[in-house]
Symmetry: C2
Subunit: 207 residues, 2 copies
């Protein structure tokens, strides 16, 4: 039996259509699990009101983003509604090796690339209770023109089709319940046999 | 995409060496999740002090047990330290079809047979914090002769080798923590994508 006492961090990928409330669920989650490192993505999109550089995203120019692509500094990147979004490879690799769990908030194309490169990553897809509720949330956010909202709703339907490639589906009906379900998923993942073989080893003894 | 609204119950298998404290953890678990049906095993062993027929086990004679084997009434059965232990097929099948989660407390041979017949079952192995602690617990129980305890400890080491075939390992350090981890595992299993595709279907719409 191959066992190791050294515990790498867990790579957690959270996706979901825009407007589903990912940021709020993530805030709730991180307030319970302060040990999780939230990976701040790089993007070329404009900051929304209240968004801070280095907190919500690392906002960079299109030129800078294209340099990062060329220099292979990104674990994954994708273009979405005309803007680039990407994840720094180095930060994540360092954290995981230190045993720190890392949370990525990325869309479905990026998640597929992460899964390809890190098959042990835990993929969670956040879905709205209904498409009507998603529409209400996008309108309530009041940041997008109606045609952008309609584009996002159609994109949401397409993205939700990709949920079959994820390990878990969490419904964001209430933020507390969604965060609680994610906490349970993370605790369950820690209990997976392959993550705990070193504990069994002490009972079995050395062969 | 093949989806179904009908939710079958979850079949949960809990194993662990004797003395690890399975019964106490199960009591704690069932007090939080009263909707779970605990499947009472059939056995030919003598009841211990405080054990009730139909509650802890269905205590039957060796002749009756062998009739049940012959009539194929058992999902699994095994012989362990000279006694038969087995699980009724019909009760479990009915409960699962009604959407009720069913918990089985069975040993490793039986669990392997359940996994063969029901690959979707969730297999959880309860391990003691150490072999020394297991020895202390077996002595404290004060129900077995020293040579039986030594037999159980050797059997425990053998059984713990089989934990690699289980989905999850839970350490019974404190009863509350072990029960909490099992609750998280069950909640996480509910969130598995294949168990929730009907929720995504309402977003995606019918194809």
């Amino acid at each position: 039996m191959s066992v190791s006492k050294k515990k790498r961090g867990e790579l957690i990928v959270l996706s979901g259509p825009s407007g589903v409330g990912k940021s709020t669920v993530i805030s709730e989650l991180l307030s319970s699990r302060r040990d999780i490192h939230f990976s701040v993505s790089f993007t070329t999109r404009q900051p929304r009101t209240g968004e801070e550089d280095g907190v919500n995203y690392n906002f960079v120019s299109r030129e800078e983003f294209e340099r990062m692509i060329a220099d292979q500094e990104l674990l994954e990147y994708a273009e979405y509604v005309g803007n680039y979004y990407g994840t720094s490879l180095k930060v994540i690799r360092d954290k995981l090796e230190q045993g720190v769990d890392v949370l990525l908030d990325i869309e479905v194309q990026g998640a597929a690339k992460v899964q390809e490169r890190c098959p042990e990553a835990v993929l969670i897809f956040l879905i709205p209770p209904s498409i009507e509720e998603l529409s209400r949330r996008l309108h309530r956010r009041n940041t997008d023109a109606e045609e952008v909202i309609q584009l996002r709703l159609e994109k949401a339907r397409q993205e939700c089709r990709e949920c079959v490639h994820y390990d878990y589906l969490v419904v964001n009906d209430t933020v507390m319940d969604a965060a609680q379900e994610i906490l349970s998923i993370l605790q369950a993942e820690l209990c997976r046999t392959q993550n705990r073989l070193h504990l069994a080893q002490s009972i079995i003894g050395q062969d």
